[in-house]
């Protein structure tokens, strides 16, 4: 009896998760793949097989291409603006004897815990033209002209990146801080004694030893870019505002799936997204893995 129970027990422990996961995740993932080869519009309609038709249509869909461009633009902003800023902040957090260190660590993290919807509501006022915070409290005192942050198609993506900078720098700085605290201080001290200056210690000791953290942070940032929805959707409108300047991939997927009810086409967008994220993650692994050789 006891032995039987012990043999059976693990299957009983794991079954609630795996049954649920199969029904509510694996089945949808597989069904989306099937659906991506069909044309189906609306719930009641009969799906008709179109082969690779949806995927070919995607390549010629100007709005889809625009959404890929915009999302990639934002992802590049995350990697080249937000992450370096977070690294700098992480180094600042790691400074010994910095007053209010614990406060800063927690405070810069707070933008992350608010809902994307709340963030969009707040930033509607931050970016407002002419009544916004940036226009009135930063640009005007500096004698600079007020900008239509969310109205000028050229400024929409920089605005969203600025929002991302506000929202995600703090948490990424905490990731970097965790990585920095894993580096034994003796290594940096030894390099300093050998005559390395602060920049050299950072460039040749600290940065290489942060590589695992950097890889993690970059992959999370890229995935996060492709997940972004609430903020651009509410700030620029369902279609991304003028010239679709704020149209992100997840917004376009939502639009096709739940406004136009093009289920087959939406499934194809989902798989296009999967492929893009997969490729970018592999490139990251390769690139940062390759640095390891030298």
């Amino acid at each position: 009896m006891g032995r039987w129970q012990r043999r059976l027990a693990p299957y009983l422990f794991i079954s609630p998760f795996f049954i649920g996961y199969a029904v509510f995740f694996l089945y949808p993932v597989a069904y989306a793949f099937y659906l991506s080869f069909f044309k189906q519009v609306g719930i009641g309609s009969q799906p008709s097989f179109v082969g690779l038709g949806n995927y070919i249509k995607l390549l010629h869909d100007a709005k889809f291409v625009k959404s890929v461009f915009n999302t990639t633009y934002y992802a590049a902003g995350s990697v080249f603006v937000i992450i370096p800023a977070a690294l700098a902040l992480g180094l600042a957090f790691n400074t010994p004897r910095l007053p209010l260190r614990e406060f800063f660590r927690l405070f810069f993290f707070t933008p992350l815990i608010t809902s994307g919807v709340v963030v969009a509501i707040i930033f509607g006022l931050v970016f407002n033209q002419p009544y916004g915070l940036i226009n009135n409290y930063i640009l005007e005192p500096l004698g600079l002209p007020k900008l239509g942050w969310l109205l000028d198609p050229k400024l929409v993506m920089p605005s969203i990146i600025l929002l991302g900078l506000w929202r995600y720098t703090g948490v990424n700085a905490l990731y970097f801080l965790a990585g920095l605290q894993n580096i034994p201080p003796e290594i940096q001290e030894a390099a300093a004694i050998d005559g390395a200056n602060r920049w050299q210690v950072f460039r040749y000791i600290t940065l290489p030893m942060l590589r695992p953290t950097l890889l993690f942070v970059i992959i999370i940032a890229i995935i996060g870019s492709y997940n972004l929805f609430a903020e651009p959707y509410l700030l620029t409108g369902a279609e991304g505002g003028p010239n679709n300047a704020g149209l992100f991939m997840t917004m376009y997927l939502y639009l096709n799936g739940f406004r136009y009810l093009k289920f087959g086409y939406t499934a194809a967008i989902g798989y296009a997204l999967t492929i893009i994220i997969l490729i970018l993650s592999l490139v990251q692994l390769r690139l940062l893995g390759a640095f390891r050789e030298d």
Binding site: G2, Q5, R7, A9, P10, Y11, F13, I14, P16, F17, F18, Y21, F24, F25, L26, Y27, P28, V29, A32, L35, I43, T95, L98, L100, R105, F108, T110, I113, T114, S115, G116, V117, V118, I121, I122, L125, N128, P130, Y131, L133, Y137, W166, V171, Y175, A178, N182, T213, F216, N227, F229, A230, L234, T250, L253, Y254, G257, F263, T266, A267, G270
Partner: protein, 300 residues
């Protein structure tokens, strides 16, 4: 005491070193002070939008959209809160309650499911364990967006559209949660389990009376992360909840954005009220927050 000593040659040398040390420590202090100032300015920039949300919620709409701007309300008013809470525009109280019911239940259910599967993986050997584990890892490469349409069609077929179930059930199945609980439950000592078995405990009893109590810290980290995600989620509730009475607060507040531009003070009031529970959890569980968010990073 040192200053009272007669000035010998060696003391003079050491005073020279002291001067250099003094210069160095001054420089370090100046650098520290500068860094502190920069962080202070950045903290002000980070906090200002939040503060403006709060002050704006006490302003009439005409004041929010007037020139010149005033950071603090010139004629503070509670009318935004009154109109929000008496439900003249949206049933905000109801939507806030919906969010709470969904977030609490989703958190409890996902803790139960994740700890069960984590326990099974951490403390038992069974046929198919490795392949299942690797398979689960491989499924992480699919972004949730892929599942939206099929999952929606499934909800339609189950008749769950516009119910709490449609949000709670899919949301409580997290592969991350399973991995996270397995990882922490590995640390439960096997000797304890063998001793309890000899005492006649059932296998479920081991999980319930030994595994769960010893996983308190991990459970609280997972609870905080799950609650935060559920409380703040927008896209999935937007898809499956159809009537204002069933909306969660993000879906409800979003219906006001753009639709009634004139009601911005009220929207800010709602945004502020909806952020309060999260702020309370953050203050109480800040260590869990930080531990949870950095759990993945350290391992890389």
């Amino acid at each position: 005491m040192g200053a009272m000593r007669p000035l010998t040659r060696s003391a003079q040398v050491s005073r020279g070193i002291n001067a250099r040390d003094l210069y160095r420590s001054l420089r370090r202090r100046a650098r520290l002070g500068l860094l502190f100032l920069v962080l202070l300015v950045l903290a002000v920039l980070t906090g200002a939008p939040f503060v403006y949300m709060i002050t704006g919620s006490f302003k009439l709409n005409a004041e929010i959209f007037s020139y010149p701007l005033h950071f603090l309300p010139r004629e503070p008013t509670l009318s935004n809160y009154i109109r929000l809470l008496n439900g003249s525009e949206i049933p905000f109280v109801r939507q806030f309650f919906n969010s709470a019911v969904i977030a609490v239940n989703q958190t409890l259910l996902s803790l139960l499911i994740a700890s069960l599967v984590g326990w099974g993986f951490a403390k038992y050997e069974f046929r198919g364990k490795r392949p299942l584990f690797v398979f689960l890892l491989a499924t992480l490469m699919f972004p949730y967006q892929v599942t939206l349409v099929p999952l929606f069609l499934l909800m339609v077929r189950l008749g769950w559209l516009d119910t709490y179930w449609a949000v709670i059930i899919p949301g409580s199945l997290s592969a991350f949660g399973a991995f996270f609980m397995r990882q922490s439950m590995l640390a439960v000592p096997n000797e304890l389990l063998d001793a309890a078995r000899i005492d006649g405990s059932s296998e479920f009893g081991l999980y319930w009376r030994v595994g769960l109590p010893l996983s308190g810290p991990a459970l609280s980290v997972l609870a905080v992360l799950t609650f935060l995600g559920a409380w703040n989620d927008y896209l999935w509730p937007l898809i499956v909840l159809r009537t204002a009475e069933k909306f969660t607060y993000p879906v409800g507040l979003a219906t006001l954005v753009g639709l009634y531009k004139v009601e911005y003070g009220m929207i800010l009031a709602g945004a502020f009220l909806a952020t309060l529970p999260i702020l309370a959890i953050f203050v109480l569980g800040r260590n869990q927050f930080v531990a949870g968010l950095t759990a993945g990073a350290i391992k890389g």
